[in-house]
Symmetry: C2
Subunit: 418 residues, 2 copies
């Protein structure tokens, strides 16, 4: 708790109180406590998660460890291992072993992979296998698990009648929906939620209630299936909190800019103020290749409106599995969104960074600026790319630098702009 | 007017009415009418401007023409030539000659450059030289001019008592303020505003009333000097509109995310609904190298709140003069902001692009997506970078593609996820 309070505007005692009230969580694990546990919730700095993990086509564990390092070096507060390809149990354990930040995961991917390894289909998983995967992840030292408990048969009926453009876009949500349709059974993650509560309690793990029916395009945002699932999550959230288990709620996704604030307010209201973990949201569907930007726009507004945890989106989203550089760019864009949001919602201290930095800018203290900006390495590269060799100015304005002009006494000809 | 109405939700007649009421402008010039005149204002698509131009250290005209092409190819609706280095009259004329979109400029840079060529200082310009520069730009075929008319002696007194962190960050504003201090005279662009009205009328040019005292950091946003200058601009705007001259108002700058909507509403109120042209705004000061993203966040919120015209910010901002690639990236980020804002403010037709595009995504029509997205070239590159060679899916989810899973009938073993 003390480690989680580092850099926060609240102390360990205040955070403990928030956790008890269900208004914040500390992402950690009793099995493998991370070096940097991370507090997420009301009045705390907005945190950034980076998704890494293999896919069926790219399953090199070393590459994922490189992405882990890229994410941590860029300043991610947590990572999620979403591996679906290769020996995913081994990859998960290696990521937990090497990570300094809390590691989250989506256990149903393991159950699907195990079925696949046994030459069975996703729909052939047993309910026990789905539940056991959650237990195995927790036993390995995962700090938070995404469980798609809200994709119930009732919610899926809402979906069937909704006329969605994109249907379900969550992989876990799709697995659950396909499984229910094939087996004509209720979602075990819903029916056996008490088991999830017990195991989360045992391992001190946070349940991240997944939004299997999050909108996959602007047109589907805030429709009945999305709201219906959120209402189910709100009830489950209440049960988990009452049992002393930490819980966060996952949210969209693709949202028109004018609906973001309403989405956040709705979630906070329906889920008793539980921390809200959003994916993006991206504010237009049409810009693949730029979804770190479309999501930075939505994430900043979400954070300013009260979202607590931003899942980054990389420039590779919708197109390919990200590489290290795309991971780095995704984290940086999400950190910008989180920080802009923190200024907007008045997190104590957030605006101080900008004020101190702007004073360095005013003083034309270039070394100071390069040392204290978001990404010193990139900023130095961009400056040097067009550097006129003058320590005082940059190549954009040169001698017409407004700060230089302001510093000159107009009556001293030798020091004025010529 | 007909050309300007192309792609707009309003026809030429409706736009003419908006222009007559001062609620919109058509950026054009009777001297050199651009191939693609551009309508800016209420109920119209949010437009994007790209600043190009030499600096004292980089004054190659060919490079500026390459940046013009990069801006136009990326989809900029207008460009401004902000050249301050080299033979800037020649560069301006070449940009006007080659541009298909309207070209704007800041005439006082010419007056400053002329003084410099004559080995005089900025403060040694005469009032006539400042005014004549505006006339010369219009005679060359410029479609809109930034004139810093609101930096009056009275407004500068507000500044002196304000305790700003960054003072004045507009180059034109700095020139005017330094000139007034040195010469102990009122701003000629304010005192002789009627002459500007007359010459704008003669050449059918739009006056863009510059915000010389725009905030240069979050801490200075919406302070008394900024609001004071805006009030002066509001009065001048009214005079120009009454005289049948098109006028737009320039705005910030650096603005905390929670003040952006208020800034837009204030401007619209104080300036009788005149089109608002914002630079960014950027929502944090601390991310040099990423100001295309910080400004996309602010620009999207500004556009959704009613801003009509976004001046792009490139990743080079605050660090160096942008090159072609940085121009391209700046335009793309600003176009994302403009489009997201248009969806937010309900511009008819804006959301249709996203809906059509999302239908292609749902159908896994990759060629369709790559043809109809914001930046087809980049999207194709990112997809092919990690392409598993399967036409149906991408390397992120592979066989676990949610749309592929949804399309499969779970009862047909041969076609389901294995």
């Amino acid at each position: 708790m003390t480690a989680a309070a580092e850099g926060e505007p609240k102390d360990a005692r205040a955070i403990r109180k928030l956790v008890a009230e269900g208004l914040a969580v500390v992402l950690t694990s009793s099995v493998a406590p991370p070096e940097r546990p991370c507090a997420v919730g009301a009045g705390l700095r907005t945190k950034v998660n980076a998704n890494i993990g293999t896919s069926l086509d790219y399953a090199d564990p070393e590459r994922e460890l490189a992405k882990l390092r890229a994410a941590e070096d860029a300043g991610a507060d947590a990572v999620m291992d979403l591996s679906t390809g290769g020996d995913i149990a081994d990859i998960r354990r290696r990521i937990i072993e090497h990570a300094r930040v809390p590691v989250g995961s989506v256990p149903i991917y393991s159950a699907a992979a195990d079925a696949r390894d046994g030459r069975r289909r996703v729909v052939d998983m047993t309910a026990d296998e789905i539940i056991d995967a959650v237990r195995r992840h927790m036993a390995d030292g995962i700090s938070f698990v995404t469980v798609h408990c809200g994709v119930t048969r009732d919610v899926v009926r809402s979906l069937r009648s909704s006329g969605r453009v994109c249907g379900i876009v969550s992989r876990g949500g799709t697995f659950v929906e396909r499984w229910m349709a094939h087996n004509d059974q209720e979602n075990p993650l819903y029916e056996r939620f008490d088991e999830l509560i017990d195991m989360a309690h045992e391992h001190d793990v946070t349940l991240s209630l997944g939004d299997g029916l999050r909108p996959g395009c602007l047109a589907d945002s805030m429709d009945r299936p999305q709201v219906h699932e959120l209402m189910v999550l709100g009830e489950l959230c209440e049960r988990a909190t009452a049992a002393g288990v930490q819980v966060i709620i996952e949210g969209p996704g693709h949202v028109p800019i004018d609906q973001i604030e309403a989405q956040i307010k709705m979630q906070k209201e329906v889920c008793g103020g539980a921390p809200f973990y959003v994916l993006g949201p991206i504010v237009t569907d049409v810009a693949p290749g730029y979804d770190h930007i479309t999501s930075a726009i939505g994430g900043a507004i979400a954070a300013a409106s009260g979202a607590d945890f931003l899942c980054y989106v990389t420039p590779a989203e919708h197109l390919s599995l990200p590489d290290e550089e795309q991971v780095r760019r995704g984290v940086m864009a999400a950190r910008i969104a989180a920080h802009a949001g923190d200024i907007g919602k008045g997190i104590p201290g957030a605006a101080d960074w900008d004020r101190r930095f702007s004073a360095l800018r005013r003083q034309r203290d270039w070394e100071g600026q390069l040392a204290h900006c978001l990404d010193p390495e990139l900023a130095r590269k961009v400056r040097e790319h067009g550097w006129p060799g003058d320590d005082e100015v940059c190549s954009m304005c040169g001698e017409y630098c407004v700060f230089k002009l302001a510093d000159e006494t107009v009556e001293e000809p030798g020091r004025t702009a010529q």
